[in-house]
């Protein structure tokens, strides 16, 4: 069964460093998403991406965040200068037209 894959599963980074979280969506999907879940809190929408551009973003997704689909398979989330409060589980999701989103296993980001 096709699935969304995320790498790495756990990333530790120092405050102020740049980090890139990687996702490989399901191959025929057209819509891509990033969500995050701070420990003990609910899952929050960050950004959606369609047709090589951001279609919607939340207030969490400020100038420190960016997304890219550098080739036909990867979808990345970059945090330019990480803060302690960026520590969270980050989920990538993808979907095709008219279907539900499929989520990856997540990347746990720890900023120290």
């Amino acid at each position: 069964e096709p699935e969304v894959t995320q790498t790495p599963s756990h990333q530790v980074t120092q405050m102020g460093q740049e980090v890139i979280l990687r996702c490989v969506p399901i191959s025929n999907h057209l819509y891509f998403y990033w969500y995050r879940q701070i420990l003990g809190q609910k899952v929050e929408f960050l950004v959606s991406f369609y047709n090589n551009e951001i279609s919607e973003k939340s207030e969490i997704f400020d100038d420190q965040f960016s997304v890219e689909r550098p080739d036909g398979s990867n979808f990345t989330l970059k945090i330019r200068s990480t803060k302690l409060e960026d520590s969270a589980m980050y989920f990538c999701a993808s979907r095709s037209r008219g279907t539900e989103a499929f989520f990856g296993q997540g990347t746990r980001l720890t900023v120290v």
Partner: protein, 115 residues
């Protein structure tokens, strides 16, 4: 604005007992509703969804949910819980066409199953 409320933070049930997890939503249009499950260290797995039609929807692992528009609810049920059902359960409402342009999640309900 969309929002989802899961009033129960933690529920403990005995194996074999029935289960109902509550979910209330707020959404201005016809809602697209989802239940996801998250096992420890795992991602989010879709249990079931409601887009339209029959208000009682069946999902995987023996779960079902009923959409009640008058109560703005989408409660998840299972007649007999298994130990492997212990996990975190999230209700979500979807915005946009098809209901999955982006999802608004509740805070989750942690289910503990005791022998």
């Amino acid at each position: 604005a969309q929002s989802v409320t899961q009033p129960d933070i933690h529920i403990t049930v005995s194996e074999g007992a029935s289960l109902e997890l509550r979910c209330n939503y707020s959404y201005g249009a016809t809602p697209y509703l989802f239940w996801y499950v998250q096992s420890p260290g795992q991602g989010l797995q879709l249990l079931l969804k409601y887009f339209s039609g029959d208000t009682l929807v069946q999902g995987i692992k023996g779960f079902e949910a009923e959409f009640k528009r008058s109560q703005s609810s989408f409660n998840l049920r299972k007649p007999s819980v298994h130990w492997s059902d212990a996990a975190e359960y999230f209700c979500a409402v979807g915005a946009g066409i098809g209901g999955a342009n982006n999802l608004f999640f509740g805070t989750g309900t942690r289910l503990t199953v005791i022998p």
